[in-house]
């Protein structure tokens, strides 16, 4: 079980705000790693810097044995490192199926002229993509909604779709930013199952969440951030009992959720 993702000395400043201030994080192959911390701790910024939505102010990112610092986001995706967004980004006017078809962009492997003239080889590729899109929707349990406009779907279904868009290509690794935010307990437990199922299918996961119960249930390891630095790191049991973490985060934020 080797290291799949490693951030070394990662810094990102926004003017005077030190969103990341010298952070080291590693994720091993096959793990689910939880990343928690108070609002503004730099969790989303960590994902944005890893995938190069913003370049880091300093530091390096390694993925699958090579340095990916500074390569553009679509190249990061091409290497098999996908992500989902905190605001659950979708293509609102697209059908559910088209959202996932777009998510399978990297699997489509078409060229411009064959797509324009609808050649047999293009149609074959698209059939394969559609098959995979349907399978993705099936495993997310939203197959029945495939033709519905995604913004007309229920909140919970949109969230499952957002995750499906991230994992449709069966990436080696996915970064999930608050996939359970604003869901009710039943939906949270559904998403928890979904996340576990994604890991069991062979995808390594780093997950940012404020919901402590599912994080402690899911994760092999938990990293706690505060003000752009690592406050603590350990197994869920260790983190739950860590005095510093209780003081700065759990105590104030989610001690009830943690038990």
């Amino acid at each position: 079980m080797g290291v799949l993702l490693e951030a070394r000395g990662l810094k990102r400043y926004f003017g005077g705000v030190r969103a990341l201030d010298g952070l080291d994080v590693t994720v091993n192959e096959g793990e689910i790693v939880g990343i928690i911390g108070p609002n503004g701790a730099g969790k989303s910024t960590l994902f944005n810097v890893i995938t190069n939505v913003f370049p880091p102010t300093a530091g390096q990112v390694f993925y699958n044995g090579e340095e990916i610092t500074g390569i553009p986001p679509h190249e990061v995706a091409r290497k098999g490192l996908m992500r989902t967004f905190q605001r659950n980004l979708l293509y609102p006017p697209f059908s559910v199926l088209d959202n996932v078809r777009m998510a399978l962009h990297l699997k489509s492997g078409y060229n411009f002229f064959e797509a324009l003239f609808n050649t047999p080889s293009y149609r074959r590729k698209e059939e394969l993509v559609d098959k995979q899109a349907l399978a993705t929707l099936g495993s997310a349990d939203i197959l029945a909604l495939k033709d519905r406009i995604s913004s007309f779907c229920s909140f919970g279904a949109q969230r499952r779709l957002g995750i499906s868009v991230g994992v449709a290509t069966q990436p080696k690794m996915v970064l999930m930013d608050e996939p359970m935010a604003a869901l009710n307990p039943e939906q949270v437990s559904n998403i928890t199952k979904f996340v576990r199922q994604i890991r069991d299918a062979g995808t390594t996961i780093a997950i940012v969440e404020h919901n402590m119960r599912p994080i402690f249930a899911l994760c092999d390891r938990v990293v706690v951030l505060a003000q752009g630095r690592k406050l603590a790191e350990g197994t869920p049991a260790e983190i739950r009992d860590n005095e510093l973490v209780i003081q700065t985060y759990l105590g104030r934020h989610g001690s009830a959720a943690a038990h």
Partner: protein
Amino acid sequence: MQQIKRLYHNNSIGLMVVPLLIFPIFAGGNPYLMFTGILALYTIGVTLTLRLKLSSYLLDIAGHLAWVGMGAYFSSALQVHLGWPFWVNLIAVPPIVGLISVLVAMPAIRTQGVYLAIVAIAFADIVVLFFGNMFTGVFGGHGGLYALPGVNNLGPISFGKDDHVAYYFLLVGIMAFIVYILRRIDRSRIGLSFRSVREQADLSEAVGLNVYWTKVLNWGISCSLAGLLGVFFAAYLRAFNPDEFSSAAGFFLMAYIIIGGRGHLLGPALGVVLFVVMRESLRSLELWQSLFWGVIMIIFIMFIPDGIYGLIKRGWEWGIAFRARQAAAPVPAPAAVAASTTPPPSERVGPSSG
């Protein structure tokens, strides 16, 4: 039969075929009507190529005619000075225009939002200045080009000055090609990726799409199709000057699109037809026309932002809903009553735990 039905059903463009074919039958003998019809159709073509563009700013519209102009100037110059027949230019010029548009856009597309629109407009005016002042021996300077040779005869088909019907069907053919390309783009993954960038470029990037090149490709296709129409424009009119492609002229395009509506391919077409009909019937207003159009534009922007197409569509939907309500009103079925009293299942419960 089934297929014809389906064609008509999912293809509102099909609705245009019949009037397009009938028009020359009753207008064929009247050169003025044919001339107006051809220019209207050409303008519809320009709005179609414009509609493909990803940028969401109305302002970029004003720069679009520059690419039509480039097609017109290049094909005229190639025809007059190098003797290239029209038919060769029809195939060769659009890719050249597309290539130039891509080279111009590559730095501009890196800029965001309204800056791209400003670059597009500025570029249109640079094009006008270029054709008005440079290589005047080839491009004719501010006076423009005139006495151009027009379309070369094609076997028995003659494209003389008065062969409006021949030009008309040539343009219908060009339009059919443009619509075919636009439809194919729309229904393939190319269109999906264009729309995805319009909706949520950050997500497209995250799923591995090269958003920058997608925008460049989109721009290049739109501009080269505009260039294709320019090749026709030059050959049909046989005379034009650089101002016809300026951003000022481009503001008329904006009027068609605002008045007709942006929601559908047919929207701008409606705008063009309405504009042409109104202009002809408002001739007596003379200079007051500009003021009239200005007021119309303001009214549309403020009160009818989705244009006439949007109005018709809403009216249509309202009609359907009204009829459905009328049909349902007299005897409400018991099942429907039961269903309407059950509260809809709400999934959005639970407080944010953030």
